[in-house]
C-alpha cells in the first residue's frame, strides 16, 4: 500500500513523521537501543531513502524483466507494473487531496488511526508463552498487524450496531457483544473450542 503522506508538503510535517513512525515495523526495537534524537534523524533520512528506493526499484525491476523473461512474456509484466504504479500514484494523489481537506478533529483521529499499534514486546511475549519457543520478528510484525485489523473490524461493526440501535458513541459493552455475535455468524472470529461432531 503506497503511503500518500510520504509525498506531502513540509507544512504537514507532523503527518509525515507520523507515517514514518507507523511504517517502521521495528520502531520499538531500534528506538530503545539508540538515543532518541539520532533515531529520529535516521527515520527521516531512511524515509527519503525509501522514497528514492521505491522509484529506482521499479525501474530496476523492469530492466530485469527485459533480460530474464522470454520475449513472449515480456510485455505482460511490464504492463502490469506500469498499471500498478499508475494506480498507486492515483491513490496517493487522491489520499493527499483527502487528507489536506481534513478538519482538526479528523486530522487527530487519522493520526491516531495511523500511529496506534500494539507493542511488539508484549505481542512477542504472548506468542512465546503460547508456543513455548521463540518466534521470528516477522511473525510478531504480521501478528500485530492483523490484530489491529481485527480490532478495527470489531469497532466498525460495533459502531454500526450502535448506529442501528439509535444510540451514540462512546461504545458500550452491549454494542461490542452484538458486534462479536454478528462477526461470528460471518465466520470472522476464529473459534476452535467448540468441536461439532457431524456423524456419531
Amino acid at each position: 500500500m503506497a503511503d500518500p503522506a510520504r509525498m506531502i508538503k513540509p507544512e504537514v510535517k507532523a503527518e509525515r513523521a507520523a507515517s514514518a513512525y507507523e511504517e517502521r515495523p521495528k520502531s520499538e526495537g531500534s528506538g530503545d537501543a539508540a538515543a532518541k534524537p539520532t533515531d529520529v534523524n535516521k527515520e527521516s533520512s531512511s524515509q527519503d531513502a525509501v522514497k528514492e528506493e521505491g522509484r529506482s526499484e521499479t525501474a530496476a525491476g523492469e530492466d530485469d524483466d527485459d533480460q530474464s523473461d522470454a520475449k513472449r512474456l515480456k510485455v505482460d509484466p511490464e504492463k502490469k507494473k506500469e498499471r500498478r504504479q499508475k494506480v498507486d500514484e492515483d491513490e496517493i494523489q487522491k489520499m493527499q487531496v483527502l487528507v489536506s481537506s481534513f478538519s482538526e478533529e479528523q486530522l487527530n483521529r487519522y493520526e491516531m488511526y495511523r500511529r496506534s499499534a500494539f507493542p511488539k514486546a508484549a505481542i512477542k511475549r504472548l506468542i512465546q508463552s503460547i508456543t513455548g519457543s521463540s518466534v521470528s520478528q516477522n511473525v510478531v510484525i504480521a501478528m500485530s498487524g492483523i490484530s489491529k485489523v481485527f480490532a478495527g473490524e470489531i469497532v466498525e461493526e460495533a459502531l454500526d450496531v450502535c448506529d442501528k440501535w439509535g444510540e451514540t458513541p462512546p461504545l458500550q459493552p452491549k454494542h461490542m457483544r452484538e458486534a462479536v455475535r454478528r462477526l461470528k455468524c460471518k465466520d470472522q472470529i476464529p473459534n476452535t473450542k467448540h468441536k461439532q461432531i457431524l456423524f456419531h
Binding site: M1, P25, K26, K42, S45, S46, A49, V50, E53, E57, R109, Y110, E111, M112, Y113, R114, R115, S116, A117, F118, P119, A122, L126, I127, S129, I130, T131, G132, V135, S136, N138, V139, I141, A142, M143, G145, I146, S147, K148, V149, F150, A151, G152, I154, V155, E156, L159, P169, P170, L171, Q172, P173, M176, R177, V180, R181, Q188, I189, P190, T192
Partner: protein
C-alpha cells in the same frame, strides 16, 4: 452467554503464563491478569471511530477479544506447516480467505523489506564516507 464462557475458558489456561498481575485486579470479573494493551487500545478505538474517551469496559472486552484472537491464530499456526513452531508462512496461509488481513500482512512484510534495504543502503553510504 457464550461470550462469557469463551473468555472464562481461555482466561483459566492463560492464567499460569501471566504471573505479572499486580495483585487481584478484578477487571470485569475476569482474571488476575494485568491489562496488557489498555493505552494502545484506547488510541486505536479513537482512531477507528469511537469517542475520544472510550469506556473502560469496552476496552477490556476488546482486549480480551484480541488476546483470544492471537491465541487462536497461534494454536492454529502451530498445528500446520512445521509442527510446534509459528512461521510467517503459516500465518499467511491461515489468513488467505480474509482479503483485508491478507492484504495488510503482505503490505507490512513488503514494507519491512523495503525499510531494511533502505537502512542497509544508508549504513553503507555512511560507512563509505
Amino acid at each position: 452467554m457464550a461470550e462469557e464462557e469463551d473468555e472464562a475458558g481461555y482466561d483459566e489456561e492463560l492464567d499460569d503464563g501471566f504471573g505479572d498481575g499486580s495483585g487481584d485486579v478484578d477487571a470485569g470479573g475476569h482474571g488476575k491478569r494485568k491489562r496488557l494493551f489498555s493505552k494502545e487500545l484506547r488510541c486505536m478505538m479513537y482512531g477507528f471511530g469511537d469517542d475520544q474517551n472510550p469506556y473502560t469496559e469496552s476496552v477490556d472486552i476488546l482486549e480480551d477479544l484480541v488476546i483470544e484472537f492471537i491465541t487462536e491464530m497461534t494454536h492454529k499456526a502451530m498445528s500446520i506447516g512445521r509442527q510446534g513452531r509459528v512461521q510467517v508462512e503459516d500465518i499467511v496461509f491461515l489468513i488467505r480467505k480474509d482479503p483485508r488481513k491478507f492484504a495488510r500482512v503482505k503490505d507490512l512484510l513488503t514494507m519491512n523489506e523495503e525499510l531494511k534495504r533502505a537502512r542497509k543502503a544508508f549504513d553503507e553510504a555512511n560507512y563509505g564516507s
